[in-house]
Point group: D2
Chain length 457, copies 4
Amino acid sequence: MCGVFGAFTQNGGPVLEDVYLGLYALQHRGQESAGVAWVDDNNAIRTQKGNGLVHLALDQEALAKIDTRCAIGHVRYSTAGGSDPRNIQPLTASNSRGSVAVAHNGNITNAEALKQYLENRGAIFHSLTDTEVLLHLMAHQPHKPMIDAFVDSLRRLKGAYSLVMILDGKLVAARDPWGFRPLVIGQRDRIIYVSSETCALDLVGAKALREVAPGEVVVIDKDEIKSIRIPVQTKCHYQCSFEYVYFARPDSILAGRSVYAVRKALGHCLAKRAPCLSANMVTGMPDSGTIASMGFAEGSTLPYEKAIVRNRYVGRTFINPTQRVRELGVRIKLNPIHDLIKDRKIVVIDDSIVRGTTSQRIIAMIRAGGAKEVHVRISSPPVCFPCYYGIDTPSRVELAAARMNIKELEKIIGADSLEYITVDDLVQAIGLPRNELCTACFTGEYMEGETQDELEL
Amino acid sequence: MCGVFGAFTQNGGPVLEDVYLGLYALQHRGQESAGVAWVDDNNAIRTQKGNGLVHLALDQEALAKIDTRCAIGHVRYSTAGGSDPRNIQPLTASNSRGSVAVAHNGNITNAEALKQYLENRGAIFHSLTDTEVLLHLMAHQPHKPMIDAFVDSLRRLKGAYSLVMILDGKLVAARDPWGFRPLVIGQRDRIIYVSSETCALDLVGAKALREVAPGEVVVIDKDEIKSIRIPVQTKCHYQCSFEYVYFARPDSILAGRSVYAVRKALGHCLAKRAPCLSANMVTGMPDSGTIASMGFAEGSTLPYEKAIVRNRYVGRTFINPTQRVRELGVRIKLNPIHDLIKDRKIVVIDDSIVRGTTSQRIIAMIRAGGAKEVHVRISSPPVCFPCYYGIDTPSRVELAAARMNIKELEKIIGADSLEYITVDDLVQAIGLPRNELCTACFTGEYMEGETQDELEL
Amino acid sequence: MCGVFGAFTQNGGPVLEDVYLGLYALQHRGQESAGVAWVDDNNAIRTQKGNGLVHLALDQEALAKIDTRCAIGHVRYSTAGGSDPRNIQPLTASNSRGSVAVAHNGNITNAEALKQYLENRGAIFHSLTDTEVLLHLMAHQPHKPMIDAFVDSLRRLKGAYSLVMILDGKLVAARDPWGFRPLVIGQRDRIIYVSSETCALDLVGAKALREVAPGEVVVIDKDEIKSIRIPVQTKCHYQCSFEYVYFARPDSILAGRSVYAVRKALGHCLAKRAPCLSANMVTGMPDSGTIASMGFAEGSTLPYEKAIVRNRYVGRTFINPTQRVRELGVRIKLNPIHDLIKDRKIVVIDDSIVRGTTSQRIIAMIRAGGAKEVHVRISSPPVCFPCYYGIDTPSRVELAAARMNIKELEKIIGADSLEYITVDDLVQAIGLPRNELCTACFTGEYMEGETQDELEL
Amino acid sequence: MCGVFGAFTQNGGPVLEDVYLGLYALQHRGQESAGVAWVDDNNAIRTQKGNGLVHLALDQEALAKIDTRCAIGHVRYSTAGGSDPRNIQPLTASNSRGSVAVAHNGNITNAEALKQYLENRGAIFHSLTDTEVLLHLMAHQPHKPMIDAFVDSLRRLKGAYSLVMILDGKLVAARDPWGFRPLVIGQRDRIIYVSSETCALDLVGAKALREVAPGEVVVIDKDEIKSIRIPVQTKCHYQCSFEYVYFARPDSILAGRSVYAVRKALGHCLAKRAPCLSANMVTGMPDSGTIASMGFAEGSTLPYEKAIVRNRYVGRTFINPTQRVRELGVRIKLNPIHDLIKDRKIVVIDDSIVRGTTSQRIIAMIRAGGAKEVHVRISSPPVCFPCYYGIDTPSRVELAAARMNIKELEKIIGADSLEYITVDDLVQAIGLPRNELCTACFTGEYMEGETQDELEL
């Protein structure tokens, strides 16, 4: 779970602050670190990186003053390498042939094997990221033009990658042949943008042109936008369905479908699949269940209330997990409207249950507030399998729905009833053909030729 | 606009972290600075203070380790003194007779005259706060018991004050005879709390006992909760109606009325007073119009949509107002759901219009997103007069509704129509007798014996 | 032990950076905190203060840009109040009559009694400094001109004070009638300076004009330098002799005597009083014994060597007192030149012994380095009594020379011999009449009318 | 100009804090950055690094708690890479074969050519240091044992390197075959240390065992100290003579010669070569000329005085170079004792003149203080050539003595006379055979087979 953004101006005019703002709009895709890279007057690549949110990691004022025609950026969710600055993207490499910077959303599943191969040929790895493999594959083809070395290197990668890069002073975008992670091209006047989501294009005032196609490399320079095919054959696509459920911003459009509309549809679908006619009202887990609960209310006869209030400073602030804070639990963040819930039967909508502990605590709080019944409805199928394609789900043993059936889970979280939608419901609500969507976290069906056992290595 | 919180434990057990958490729950009442004061083992008063949000101003971990039976805290919205540390409350004073600490929400309208009087008697003022007047009035009665000097000093104050104090090692709460600002007493086991709002009692797990009455001083020590009357006669009360409209948290109960319920009622009322039958949907200004817009949707036949999405990192982050950022305007914070608004007629609800500039920009953004019509409905009467009782409204010349009539304002902000509720609507939605509410910011009718001309001095 | 500095320009031209630089030159007089105060365009007083060394406490770049005609500053050694920002000087007070800022070197011995008197009249003290008494004495004479209130207040103070102040927009300097602490006036073009020591005048390029006389108030404004007498009778003066021994910078001139020359003379005197003919060389404790050891070498036949090297980063850095660091002791800071001391008999000169622990450790280190004999010579009489006039000596029980005789001390510190000079030697080396010098820390003879018992209260 | 330090404990007991303290004692060899690397329980290498002085760059308290048997550290003077964190040493690399960390003092003169060679074979360089070449040379021999790959890589390096490394969990030290930079082995109980200078061994309480010989690799593990020869033939050695003149600490012993004794000898030598019989006294430039000026005084009949006082807070503090500060010049740092120099003829000793500007300013200040004559004596030959072996001398055009003869320089700096010693004097004072010393910065005679033209590339 990361976000990438790039910009190239074809007629002068600075673009680095737009990359900063693009990352700011993609902040929900990663809060651990942020970085930008750009081309300076001598065609050398320069970077600024840091830990934490975009505004802490980067210096907007300084970036706004830098004049460059080509820049990229990255927000990182988290990686094995923790807060080590060497793992903050964009990664860069330069030699006498030229310079390259890369920002990567996704996860390369054969990275370990490639790393072994490269170390046996003298490579020294400096980060713990799978992304660095790509740079070494390119460096080991020193006599080819860089773009050829790049496409040839992509051919050897498996798994998920949506990349924005600076290569030979050009902006390059690439998306793996399976199309796991989103990547979209936008335009404002003579500036071309590449972004993980359309919401970042909206912020900089750009219009979405089209998505980067699965298996496509797009090369943007001052004259043109050129397209190259990655020479890998695939039978079907694997666009991540979880982006619609949880990850993407509701104001983004993915593969032509509004995320807001899909979430509303998931709520409607849930009202049909698992209504709760005896209840007095429906509410959403703040904030993850809000849109689906509005859809549920529309699809049922129940009124929608914002019955749980979130302290609006939660998230901006760090509360130490002292003894007293643990004792108070979710009350630190959330408070029910007591008048509303007292002696009422309530439907609570959430988008997913991962470990189940948060659901348990919130339900307990609602009951302590006087609710008579608490019915939980989830606007996605049960998450039973880890994701190896870039979403940081916990391992299978920690996934609540992988360890027990729904009735057991209902009991554990303390709900009067618990219901989910099916994978078919999900596919239908998204509105894309089933063979274009990855539903591995719900079904365990990974990409052609990959099994969980191999992926775990 | 400030928040105060205090705690006294009658049987040991630390209370300072609860004061920290109480301030955290009252953070919406002030973000400029925060401070706490507590009694140490020698009955001396100690403080910790700082600028910014509670978690930046104070050290939770250090406070959690301090054992004290009595502590108070304050969050400040802003004052003339800016970020000068001397103005951060609680203010303290100590001499051979004892120590006092005070945290104040409100505004003393005769502070300047009292300050003159005191300086002529040798007083040296160290802060720019009106609150310090109280400390000097007490110090100038050196031979009285401190509590007598305190009540006698209150008798000389005019205007709004909800105070929590440490006095003689006891927790003391006081509310001005007119009852402008809220103040409520709560209890958890043998710990007594005083808070600006009930939402902070909820967070620390306390039950609301009752409000501090207008004109009441409450003295809490290890044996009892004692009540003293401030010897000032009043004909009626002036509880702030704007707390319900905008300032208080929706999960608080003020004077027995749920703020959430009042805001819903304001929306219903607005739907009745100013419906918009031709529209396709209703939405709220994020986040100030959300609850009223849900009430409006219920009171009309229009569907409710969350059509404007707020970047959830806005507020946690600081964006530099560079040229590019000014150019992008509200898009930095807000983005409409394009699918929803395109070619639709939209009702947008907000709780108030102060300067009008934000409304103007958001309406322009909605139109740019393709909306056919934008109708604005405000869930309070027009704000035409400054508040001198603790809410930081701009001066009259900057208040949009004071400078022009509604038709002119409608044009300025670019709405297809603009409508408000009346003061009667407001009083009815709150559900308190009219002579118990202050509506001065809507009507210009200030407290008995005070006129705007005098107050401006 | 503090340093004060002030500047007034009679023809425009900024002076605030010169005050910063003056404090920088007086840094040896106090490292705990620093502050400056100046007059702004509206005759109001503004301040900047902070903890730590001058360059950390103050923002040179910001101060350099401020245009003011009158400014003062203070470096503080330490006080009871620790790092509480309210104790950082200059202290300020303002009211309708005007503003005052004060920086104080010294210690007012009747401060507690005056504080009681003032609190009984309504005064609220905000700092733990004795200096604040002066501000309240002035405020309690609200109907006099400020300068009259000031001189009248000084009349009531006992003990040591060298003050620089801003009063009515003028620069005012005052020195107690006994003349404990130094204070000197300097001039560069049409800028008048007041400083604790001449070395700070040298730094800003000013010429020393004369000392402020004991009992004199000097008022500097744009037209003149006026002198007022404090109406207190005294029989003799009490200029601090310890300033020559240890406290003042060697490049300063106090009461017409070069500190460097006095220290050289103390070394000569010591060579005469307590020679050590069998030794091979003389060296100084770094850096306190350096100059006296050069004098000793000249006065004896022994060669002078810099046999103990001080790590030149000690002092710029903070070393945590971990277990390992305690084990290594003085080696963290000092290292002997092994070739020089091996099998040699060494005379080590220091300016004083306070607690004796440092001497003990250094002698042990020299012995461990192979020295055959270590003879210690002290260039002042034994310090047997606490100072109540502004030097932060420990209480009597901690003073090594107060607890034991010289033979015992010699044994404790591990020296082969230990010798001091006498009070007569000291007076003679300084070259001032005995009845103009305070030697209380050596003799216990405090100021006329004061005894140690009273002073301890 | 860098410092390196390493420690290996053969019987448990932590060593990381000793490395911290060792770096602290070597702080004079580099103030730009500092770093440490150590072996953790899994034989992996961990690091802590930062910009600035040791106590700012590293966290002593955290390091003191870490238990490791092998650790190294580095202080850096400055490099082309400025403050980029990637250039802070120790550098590390790890792969499936193992991990290596390296700290380097010196300068590899054929680094650029080696870098080209390696990039053509796929290497990606991450730092701008010449040191990284070594890591890639080792990585490109992936099938050899690491220690063999290391020694084979050293064979290909030219220039100056004193290295401490962690290799296979062992402490490895290496010194180039020409012996440019010092490197010494010490011992305390069963802990073995390697250090740039003996002063750091003194601080941690270790005894110096012997120097690492030119061309020697020393491998220290829990059983033994093993020695390996670098297979490179050399005719003579090139130990840096400037270490004695200026760079090393006076309490260090280099190649068996006390630096303090050499500096004294240089002063004696100067008194003989260039006496100044008419002068009244001799003084040293603080602090660089102190020891030589004491030698000069002994060798002549002139008395030694500390006539120029250095503000002891200079160096701990940062003074902004504002207009006023530039105007005041060296007075910010230095002040003459006016009584001493007035109307006197003074000899001022310094260790070298690099650009000449500082000498010029100090002489002007002494004259302004009233001195009648100022005679400058330099305790080294004129520095006419840049150093390519690790000392950061300016390029030839900036070296004062390279641009003009001594008479011209005397005039430029404003001295009444200026005299140097000769290279023969220097060699004699050091007391090593001439063919073991590098005097290239005085003579331009670089290492066999290297010319200035080649080195400039």
